[in-house]
Amino acid sequence: MNRVRVLVGTRKGAFILTSNAKRKRWNVSGPHFAGWEIYHLNGSPADPNRLYASQSTGWFGQQIQRSNDGGQTWEPVGNKFVYDGVPGTHQWYDGTQHPWEFKRVWRLEPSLTDPDTVYAGVEDAAMFRSTDGGQTWQELPGLRSAKGNLWQPGAGGMCLHTIVLDPSDPKRMFIAISAAGAFRTDDGGETWRPVNSGLKSPYELPDASAEVGHCVHSIAMHPSRPGVLFMQKHWDVMRSDDAGGAWHEVSGNLPSDFGFPIAVHAHEPNTIYVVPIKSDSEHFPPDGKLRVYRSRTGGNEWEALTKGLPQSDCYVNILRSAMAVDSLDSCGVYFGTTGGQVYASADSGDSWAPIVRDLPAVLSVEVQTLP
């Protein structure tokens, strides 16, 4: 029987939640790295027992941890992230130029085929790659050449938080940065170009349709249809049908099109999930009701999913990396909140139940479907 492993990063450690395919009873392991911020942990698609975790604190900086046994034991690997050449400057909040400074790793994305190759998205925004299991890291500096001097930090910092690997083309990758936008490489990370055509940010940018500067919150793709991308932007839910060449809005009837994560159903490429948040000034669900919204039409037409979720007095947030799906039949959907709950649905979102209720604030959720 299949098993599911849910990897949860929190403000005060990592937790690993496991269950069988029924997804009724859960085992909770953790905290791992107690007291440290775990922005992200993720497993290798090529070897599910190979996990990577980003561990950091403001006191002691960045660590990368690696596990070869599905998170039972860990070892620290390389933590030296040095920008290529002279780092230069980017825009600061007030529009002045500010030096690039490494702060932390937001995202770890293992290669689809090689457990020892892993990408890291960092703050201040840049992309690093390791080909030796995380022991050493090299920047892919071509990314910052894509008008990096015009990028600026969002409220959470200037973070590279999303890395999407194209399963049909190992040289194509998509990344997203707050607040710079979405970028694509077609040559394995040597060169990059902004892919933000169609995004509009009238409240955040002097030129609402600028080539870079948009606050993209997350991007999702279904592996069977890598040219179709879904985006939760600061405001607006967007879709591209040509690998980021052009975006159009699919917010439709959402109660708010502000939010952070976006996910695609494992077996239905046109079924997508978002969690509307009231606004950029009020980071909690509209009306105190925690509702996941599902579109079965690739956007525009949305239905509220509420069964098992609190429908009054709920004022948590769901951060950009804190929603994921499993690939069981039927598809499981998972998300974590800043209130420390991890909710799971084993029926594509029709009904929900908490796996755990009282973790530290959840920063990230990833799911592995195991044989």
Binding site: F33, G35, G58, W59, F60, G61, Q63, P76, N79, V82
Partner: protein, 98 residues
Amino acid sequence: MIRVVLPHHLRTLALVGKEVDLQVEGPTTLGSVLDALEARYPMLRGTIRDHITQQRRPFIRFFACGQDLSHQPPEAALPDEVVTGAEVFRIVGAMAGG
């Protein structure tokens, strides 16, 4: 033998107890003690000093013999009591609670 006391999170990272004993080659200075510590526990590189500049991280302090040594240069000699092992050299995470 130099006795170094690490903060909690660095003990868990390096898998050591409260106190670490170090042999330091040559003069016992702030810099040479940190060099010896990082050589023995490579996972501590970057956690106390910046990888490149070797500057103390902003929220790290160095205390010994009732003195704050945080702003001493790397070549500064440590107190005799630390050199003889009578007193510990403390690496401290700066107080930043509520």
